[in-house]
Amino acid sequence: MTTYAELHCHTHFSFLDGASAPDELVERAVELGMSGLAVTDHGGLYGVVRYSTAAREAGLRPVIGLEIELADAAVPDPAGIVVPGRRPWRAGRGCPAGGIATTGPATGPTAGALEARGRALAGAAPLPDDARRGEGLPARPRPARARLPGHRDPVKEDLRGVGEGQRGPHLVLLARNAAGYRSLCRLVSRANLAGTKSMSRFSHALLAENTEGLVALSGCREGEIARRLRVGDRDGAQAAAERYARLFASRRARLDSVATSAFFLEMQHHLLPDDDWLVAETSRLAEELGLPVVVTNDVHYAYPEGRELHDVLTAISHGRTLDELRDLRRSDGESFLKSAGELMALPPGRGSLDGGTPRGGGTLGFAGADARTAAAWVEGIGNAGELAAGCSVDLGFERYRFPGFPVPKGNTAFSYLEELCHEGARRRYHPISSPVVKQLAHDSTSSNGPVWPSSS
């Protein structure tokens, strides 16, 4: 068995959600003796370069990935389990009255913003806010500034006060190889173009087009399967798991093989009240479907102390004080990098979801379930290392790579350059003067050597 590798980890490039720098995480992972570490930031690959450089230097196998938030449900979701409606922020002790008005049980979390964006794309300028607010204000025509082609007016979405539990389901994607990295890049680009400012929009359709070379983990407790399992929707969870497994299955994939499987059920235990239930249900589901499991810890900071910084970041992102945050802050302080031993010591690893041990109450039929959960947990820890070992993306910074430039047949690069220069000179200088000619001649002679042509 290989050593453990953490496959779900946010750096501070998960803006206002991750509390540790990539270098710090790498350092800690090496300290804990991990074989690999994945970086899975929210909806972006911003930290990838810094991270993989640092990891290579430290001798850690870098796994590149992404945690996406899906904006839609794959199947109709009338109960709002997968894409929940946003409920008004509950005011608690020490909170200003009123709270934040949020959208009602809308179909998608971004309905209002997307509508505005649709208007912007259709060419109609969005109404200036002032005109909507103040009746008597003059609507002065504004000069159309020079816009770059493809420019869009940014649409901002106010997500303050909207916690993770009220947004779309999460899914973790890891690149197994270079093709997988390309898929990730495509996904991120498309999703950002489809989304609003700082809020990319991943849809199931988009995901289905870009699965090459990707490994999917079912996500944290806010993943679709976990959400379904938490409310007891076993059938729905099973259907979702089968759907994802089909989606990511490649030709040579065998479901129960870690080396080739492309969809893993993710198990996490953060010592929350329903984590026992969630882990037990996940392992049960894995057994029923024969899907491999993997244990992650949804890392948001390298050390336990990072929790404080993480809470402060959460407060900033929601525009509230720490006291007002309530359930917007992660209620657990367990999202730090944990070694295999620490993970094994968690309740499912100890096999102590136990009615079946001698001191227990002999709860009928539960001993089997516990043993199953424990076995799955142990296996998931092993699988994490194996999976990391099977992922290799080399960003290849050792050599230079220039963009390709087509040269007409019969020309060398330099002869073509000379030709272009003369053509430009003819177009630009009327009449052509002797210094120009002299300079051209000088440049073309020197450019055949190692000297780059000086600008003329």
């Binding site: 068995m1 979701d77 009338p78 109960a79 709002g80 389990i81 409920r87 509950r90 539990g165 959400r227 938490r230 409310v231 007891g232 929707d233 076993r234 059938d235 729905g236 129960d256 870690v258 009240p273 329903d274 026992d276 239930w277 037990a280 249900e281 057994e287 024969g290 491999p292 094994m344 690893g349 100890r350 096999g351 102590s352 979801l353 136990d354 009615g355 079946g356 041990t357 001698p358 001191r359 227990g360 109450g361 002999g362 709860t363 009928l364 039929g365 539960f366 001993a367 089997g368 379930a369 516990d370 043993a371 199953r372 424990a374 076995a375 799955a376 142990v378 296996e379 092993g382 699988n383």
Partner: protein, 399 residues
Amino acid sequence: MTTPPQNVQAALASLRERWGGAAPRWGGEVEGALAVAPRPSPAFDPEGLPGGPGALPASDRAIPTGFHSVDAILGLGGLPRSAMTAIQGDGTSGKTTLALQAVAGAQAAGGIVAYLDLARSLDPVEAAARGVQLDWLVVLMPDSLDEALAMAAMLLQDRTVDLLLLDLQFWTPGGAGTSNSNLAERLNRLAALARRAGVQVLVLEPPSLPPALAGVLIQVAALRLELNWRAWIRLGRDVVGQRTEVRVTRDRFGPPGRAAELGILYAEGGLRDACLIRRDLLRESTPGTGRLTAAWGSGVAPLGGVAPPGGYRPNLPTSAARLAPLHPPAITPVPDDATSPSSLASPSPAPGPRQGLRSIRGRADHSWRQAVDGRPGPGREPPCARAGRPDPDAARGGP
């Protein structure tokens, strides 16, 4: 409870399709389960209260307890007004639940309730979840039984409250300033006052009361219910509810000796509460025999005599081995047509009457039999409580 009319059924079904677990339910459909709504609304809507669907109209002599099976075995169809009711039960017997449900019933009928919290253990959130209007709940915290009785007498004399809940849970005999000699007399006086003032008095009575006091309570109470824990309702490892037997040991208004069973679900908050309305996920269990011999309060059990469990096994099963189940599941879900679980995602047609409890118990009983008669797992013993457990249908009792 009655079956909802056709049009109501259709309306409920469509609501459930739209709202899932948060949809309104026909009264009593899931007995004892809390609504999944996260924040109980304190709004007081006087017009909406009486005669809502499922709520029994409060008669002028009795207030319904909110548990239909309990109401059914009581002579008056509820707890009598202007009399003393004693609810006796052990540590986790459900008596607080029953009492708070009665409080909610009294408030729904327009009453003001005083809670004499001798044990200092009222949880307002739980109370509100049971339907208690905290606005109309006066909480008094006496230090001793003497004080509690004095407070009760003052409240009764002025007739300012309609229901008085006296919680003796942790009261220990020989507490400060309690004189047992005239307790009987004072309790008698209290009962007389309650009768005259038309105030309902509920006494929560732990089994550890001194016999003298218990005897007095038996005498003065017009109605006495005995609650006994029967089994846990489990969701995975966690205990999410319990089953309780209610037995009428004394009833001035009807025949004593009837019994009923309650299913109480705790619903402690969080997304997982939605599992509680899926009966196929819930299991029922009693602790095995011989392991938990020491009953609550019955002396000291030997500690440390049990070998510690071995922790996790170092020889880990490989993935291939795991895919074959290690243990065959001890409880195979039995398809039960009568109890098709109302799914959150795919709504089932409106269930028939009295389904909630029966299905939980029916399922569990079935599994019991299967486990006990067929193939008791290694190290699992049939429960001792089996013999003492009344037949489910007889237990329902009542008219």
